[in-house]
Subunit: 446 residues, 2 copies
């Protein structure tokens, strides 16, 4: 989509607010006018926050959602990666606990010949962030200028950086306002925020990992599917190939939570090891990335190619190359001892025998934040070394006194709070429960 | 009601916004905290506008509405008129075209022994305002300090002034924000705004004139009744006697529209003359004021007393006395030639014969604004002399070429625009239509 034609008449913010308040459908031109004027500082916060609340409570149609995404996308730079001949494909997750798939997928898809220009975020609340994980690698620089990002992408096929000031400034301004006005929780606004930033990467296709369950922002599968459909349709309206996998976040993904620990586990997967759930999800997402990236005829073929790239060591080589190009110490990939290490560990054992029935996922994410591994406020710094290793996952048999988890910590007081949190996060049952599926649903491209 | 007890814990604006967004009921303490913090400048506009939009779309319960009214009332001074032994009763109208009842009612009720401490507003949009009408009387001062207001009230039994900075400052701040954020149109917010200002007058009882019809803010009788019930219940929850009359505003009230013209017509009613609809409505409202003011056993008795006070000239004497006490020229009451006069008049005749079927009320109010008699923006000044005199009302027989209206104007260009507006405001039918009742419903005290 192109920005709409120049104004035939001035759009007044008050009229746009009233129209949405009364349940009307805004035109593309009205939405672009509002977003552009707000980004330029021509409309005050108090008008936009009233409009945002009206959107939260009245919703948006699909064309309105696409227009809002488009307006936010074009509020800043859109990367032009046409110099790269490979198809550009990215993956985005709505956030969870222990989700280190990005660290596996970028080098894996790049090893297959797909270009992966990945712009990621930091952890907030109980969820982790890719940038924080990458920064656990000594020297790794996520704050690269666009020119260098492009050079690394051309050299290596993948590059992973943080948000730049030039990308979707409207989203930055709107998100800050939503955060303080109770207007974060709207699928339409969430969709526009995610999609405007992802499409600014100049990609051809996008694989979305929409989490559902107790550790996800979307607790129910229906809410997750609604958001997923919205993002898929919005991306398609803007000429991109988009597929969304609704995946489980009712317990943490994999066994390790914490920045350096997650790098270790991602490397394990790139070596063909690592926990089964994480490995399976990485292969599924990689299969889609390769398929949408035009290097595999089917998703299944993409998964097979990915497995080969892992067993041949090519995927890990690619990760090593990217780490080096972004200033990181590649030896940390092969020797976890070169990653930040917590000073102490403490173990938690099961008070009874049976089967692990549930693991309170959000609570475990919060436990990692309490250790210092995440941030409660944007300005907080993180401790890359701390975290939690889970020795049992939902469905596993456990005997009395058997190890459930190990806490990696640097502060005794924090570790004690986390022990208490973890002790109430486990539920043991007499008989094994039916396991939730890892992949609940696939939306788009069917 | 008294302000709630001191804070047990800090209320965060974001939590109050989220609770209302999700349809929850706010506590008195949460509402008082929000209003107090906003009035003190401790909460930014952008949070309050998001909250206001959530209130518009989610509504409020009766206890919430009463708590909001109470918080706004206690944001400033509440007049203490306990030194006046008579019961204090006011009347408030939700705004219409040609509604000059306040100018009749204040002296009429005062002549009967009721104290009327009336704090009024200015015209805005297509509706007129009592202060603008009073200021058409040469010298009349509506900006009196509270001490002088009280002295005049003690001397004369009635006094009519404008809003002071000390009364309900929260309403002033909230109204300014609502005006620019599309959050005016909520019965809950309208109720709290009206009732907080009226109860700050230190009254014992209140008669509400809630207009309905094409010239009113509440177009349908149901909307008007909803607002009326809300205001009656809110007033009662706050220990006041309140009654609301739902009255017709589908055509202008009386025959004259424009500030000086409306003074002339109000004086006519105080002389026992004037148009029948205006006369009837004044007597009905006066009947209620006298009854709630404790000087008549029934409303009917109050109406009879009012008729006598008019025929004896005592009501007009009271008006003359109040005008003089507030600095106005009392000779203007007896000699309309001493009121501002427009330089020219222009007549509009009926293009066909039949019966007047409808008169577009809002359009006629707007026509008066176009002449300069009202204001489109708060900062506009008004021309007291201009206006419109209607020679026919809905239901009247009219023959071809007969006079429909006379425009009193000072600008030829404006008069031409108004002629065009008026010509499309009249609808003539072949047979007489059933007339709408003047008083649709009475709410409260039944």
């Amino acid at each position: 989509m192109n920005p709409p034609s120049p104004p035939a008449q001035i759009v007044r913010a008050i009229d746009v607010i009233r129209k949405k308040r009364d349940g009307g459908e805004l035109s593309r031109y009205e939405i672009h006018s509002l977003v552009n004027a707000y980004t330029a500082g021509d409309i005050p916060d108090y008008q936009v926050s009233a409009w945002l609340m009206a959107v939260v409570l009245r919703g948006m149609t699909r064309p309105e959602t696409a227009a809002l995404t488009d307006a936010m996308l074009h509020s800043g730079d859109v990367l032009d990666l046409s110099s790269i001949s490979a198809r550009k494909v990215d993956k985005h997750s709505t956030g969870g606990v222990g989700d280190k798939t990005s660290l596996v997928l970028a080098p894996l898809a790049a090893a297959a010949g797909v270009a992966v220009p990945m712009i990621s975020g930091r952890g907030l609340g109980h969820t982790g962030g890719t940038l924080d994980k990458l920064e656990a690698i000594p020297g790794f620089n996520v704050n690269l200028p666009v020119a260098q990002f492009r050079r690394i992408l051309e050299t290596c096929g993948c590059a992973m950086i943080g948000q730049t000031a030039e990308i979707a400034p409207a989203d930055r301004k709107l998100y800050a306002l939503r955060d303080v006005t109770g207007t974060v929780e709207s699928p339409y606004l969430i969709c526009a925020s995610i999609m405007s930033k992802k499409l600014a990467e100049g990609i051809d296709a996008l694989v979305l990992d929409v989490k559902t369950g107790s550790g996800a922002f979307m607790k129910t599968e229906d809410d997750a599917a609604f958001l997923a459909e919205l993002m898929v349709e919005t991306g398609e309206r803007m000429g991109k190939e988009v597929v969304a996998l609704i995946t489980d976040m009712d317990q943490p993904l994999g066994s390790m939570i914490g920045n350096a620990l997650e790098v270790v586990e991602a490397v394990e997967v790139l070596r063909g090891e690592g926990p089964e759930d994480l490995r399976q999800l990485c292969l599924e997402l990689a299969g889609w990335m390769l398929h949408l990236g035009g290097v595999s005829a089917t998703v299944e073929d993409g998964k097979r190619q990915s497995e080969k790239l892992i067993s041949s060591g090519k995927a890990l080589d690619k990760f090593r190359q990217m780490v080096e190009l972004q200033g990181g110490d590649p030896r940390a990939i092969d020797d976890p001892g070169k990653l930040p290490q917590a000073q102490r560990t403490m173990t938690i054992s099961s008070p009874e025998g049976g089967y692990l029935a549930s693991l309170k996922c959000e609570q475990i994410g919060t436990a990692c934040v309490v250790l210092g591994g995440g941030r409660e406020r944007k300005e907080d710094s993180v401790d890359p070394a701390v975290g939690i290793v889970l020795h049992k996952k939902v469905g596993d048999a456990v005997s009395t006194g058997e190890l459930l988890a190990t806490i990696h910590y640097n502060s005794e007081a924090r570790a004690q709070r986390v022990r208490e949190l973890l002790e109430v996060s486990y539920q043991i049952a007499d008989s094994p429960l039916e396991k939730r599926p890892l992949i609940h649903r696939i939306i788009g491209r069917t």
